[in-house]
């Protein structure tokens, strides 16, 4: 089920809120779990059993890891958990990728498995792995209640599109969390902001991307318009989902960590990744990069560590070569920045931002392709490879039609509106006016988002690959 759907907003959400707040404390997790399973099964009836199996296996292995901590067996149980979770992820997500490439290399014709990818498998696999690894490290205690562990994994606010919530961050909240009017109110505001980002901005920008892909007149300028729109679409879609997840979490008493922090104002690729999909970046840092030695190793090993982490980051996003290239592309820039550019980038705020936006734009051109060829065509198109600099009718129309949305999205992707609001908050008149208009504005956004959904407007789900 999608947050951005009438079914979720006006059928599922009222039911879960009603029953959750009506239930006694002891049953709140059960209500959340049952609704989370319905939420997941709505889109993936079959694969709900895979998720339940993953939870049960990791529940048992988590306890065994804890019981045998310090002994060799603990490592064995940890490896079994890794094997099971990564095996399932590998089978469902990557099997056909490996078979197709194996066929290409060997010339054989091993048939593809053509397995549908279970929605959100990359997110919940990483979540449960963080749990088992943290138990192994002794950072958290093994969860004795399988329902609590299942609630953590299946929790619908963050189940299909993140953020990747670590068990250690919500361990206490799973059994003992507070609910308050303030928290629910903040959650509602955050949820509506996220919903509006997704429906009003991301989906409208998505229409422009669809128009670009359908066009026969792709000039350099149209490639740039597309890439800008695509960057903003992905940002507002993804950060919108994260906002909705964080907002829903607050309504149900959870505090999830932030996932985005104005990534497009970054002054380097490394800063970009500290601001973009932060829960994924920190997951790879803590569970892959640092265990490999991080940067406290010799240069060659450091290179290997960086390339491994970014190879995996790219591959996590999808079983296609363009995602791998996308990850490695960032690895190269991170290394170049570390060894050559770091001081130069500090010198100019403007140039460092232009540099970052440029490399991020090219990265999104690579990300946007459905194959490596398409990715390279899109990236090349930005620089006139295979196209020309003409002003085509398609470009002009789409620029005229989507120019305002793109402009609004650019401004909204920066902290400017927030800074202006914070500055004005010292002014009593503004404070009074804002106090009066904030709720009607939010209600207006909810009504508009509903209007877009009722109209059946373009509403893609971008996380089918994850």
């Amino acid at each position: 089920m999608l947050f951005s759907s009438i079914t979720f907003l006006y059928y599922f959400l009222p039911c879960v809120i009603l029953l959750y707040f009506a239930a006694p404390k002891a049953l709140k997790n059960t209500v959340l779990l049952l609704f989370s399973l319905v939420f997941y099964a709505w889109g993936e009836p079959r694969y709900v059993f895979l998720m339940i199996a993953t939870v049960l296996v990791c529940y048992v292995l988590g306890i065994l890891v804890e019981k045998t901590r310090g002994r060799f067996l603990s490592k064995v149980f940890l490896c079994l958990a890794l094997l099971f979770c990564l095996g399932a992820l590998g089978y469902f997500k990557y099997a056909d990728f490996f078979i197709a490439n194996f066929n290409k290399v060997t010339g054989l014709g091993v048939p593809l498995l053509k397995i549908a990818l279970p929605i959100g498998i990359s997110f919940y696999t990483f979540q449960i792995l963080s749990y088992v690894i943290d138990v192994y490290r002794g950072d958290v205690k093994a969860q004795k209640n399988p329902l609590t562990l299942a609630t953590y994994v299946a929790l619908f606010p963050q189940l299909i599109a993140g953020p990747i919530v670590r068990y250690c961050d919500v361990e206490k909240q799973l059994t003992d969390r507070s609910h308050s009017i303030d928290k629910v109110s903040v959650g509602i505001r955050r949820f509506i902001m996220g919903l509006s980002k997704k429906i009003l901005l991301a989906n409208t920008l998505g229409e422009l991307c669809v128009a670009f892909n359908a066009s026969d007149e792709k000039s350099v300028m149209f490639y740039w318009l597309f890439v800008i729109a695509y960057m903003l679409q992905i940002y507002f879609d993804f950060s919108g989902y994260s906002d909705m997840a964080i907002g829903l979490g607050k309504i149900f008493g959870f505090d999830f960590l932030e996932n985005f922090n104005y990534p497009f104002i970054s002054r380097s690729a490394s800063e970009f990744w500290r601001r973009w999909h932060m829960s994924l970046g920190s997951w790879f840092r803590d569970y892959v990069y640092i265990p490999m030695g991080g940067n406290r190793v010799n240069k060659l090993r450091f290179f290997i560590n960086i390339f491994t982490v970014w190879f995996l980051t790219g591959f996590w996003h999808g079983a296609e070569w363009n995602f791998i290239v996308w990850g490695l592309y960032f690895a190269v820039f991170l290394l170049v920045e570390k060894f050559f550019l770091v001081k130069k980038l500090e010198k100019s705020r403007v140039l460092s931002r232009i540099y970052t936006l440029l490399i991020v734009a090219v990265s999104f051109a690579i990300f946007s392709g459905n194959s490596l060829t398409e990715a390279l065509t899109n990236a090349g198109g930005l620089f006139g490879v295979g196209t020309d600099f003409s002003v085509t009718a398609d470009f002009l129309y789409n620029l005229r039609s989507y120019g305002v949305v793109v402009l609004i999205a650019i401004i909204a992707s920066t902290p400017l509106p927030k800074l202006i609001k914070e500055k004005l908050e010292g002014n009593n008149v503004f404070k009074t006016v804002w106090g009066i208009i904030e709720i009607p504005l939010l209600l207006g956004l909810l009504i508009l988002s509903t209007a877009y959904l009722a109209d059946g407007a373009f509403n893609p789900f971008l996380y089918f690959r994850f």
Partner: protein, 367 residues
Amino acid sequence: MKIKNIITIVVFAVFIFGMSVLCVAKPADEFSLSERRQLASFPKLSVDTVKSGEFMSGFETYTAERFPMRDTFRGYKAWFSANVFRKLDNNGIFVADGHISKIDSDMNEEMMDYAAQRFLNINNKYLKNKNIKLFFAPVPDKNFILAPKNGYPSLDYKAFIDKMRQKTDYMQFIDITGLLDAEDYYTTDTHWRQEKITDIAEKLGAEMGVDVSAGYVENTLENPFYGVYTGQLAIPFKADTIKYLTNDTLNNCTVTYYDMGKPVTGEMYNMEKAMGKDPYEMFLSGTMPLITIENPDAKTDKELYLFRDSFGSSIAPLFAEGYKKITVIDIRYVQSDFLGALVEFKENSDALFLYSTTLLNNSMAMR
């Protein structure tokens, strides 16, 4: 702050729960008058439909399409999209030069081939051996005038018509594009205005070797005409007025409708339909597989077989002056393979294939 938070919760609880109750208690009607289409029904609930996900996807469509006050919400979306985002079209619908129109930019060669193949089959089966003269006149969508002028993407109508002409090169092509202007079409609908196309009827007649010129009385329908695009635009737009032409010849004609069951003799202009959901259907009663118009006062014995879509409904009466009998055939509603059982094609007649580019570009409905 505390009070504001309470108000926030109350306002959103009232809205979400209120709409939720309305969704269950009072879903939107099954038929959308504004969009002129049937909306989704509640999907079948069974183990199989749940397992396959069919129920869920059906439910998603049902809840979106049957959302209470959907037209009002669609209006909000259209207004916001046009006035805040300054988008030039809403779901492909745009307003230019006082007209509502629909972006129609992709040429579908497969569909064009399909239409051409249907025409060829008809020719081979019924017309070729009867020495019937064949004419082909594509009617361009009003986009061909509005879109380029206003910077909207559009089908390359010249290329489209040229291609269709090549695909139907056994027919005499009649170019009517030069006679068409934006004013010849309704502002809220895809169709042309009968009172504005007498020159086109005359040109087609002249090319076919008959004189169809006549004097007409212009009659105005009292009720407003909100064309098919009004609902799709979703924001208020000035209604059109339907005018229809009459004269003694038309009044004396016998119009026979061949639908299900026995043929029925009726009127050229159906006043019941003029008051209905789509007043344009007043012209020859709208969608009908087969109609004959017989002119007892005709100066010739010539007959015309008019293969047509809905554009043909309003122009067909204007040919009555020059023909003894006009057989109006819509192969979307009658299988062309069975036409022989329904129509007796006469030697030395004329056959005019009059189709809108919109239908030629999406001809799947032709049978």
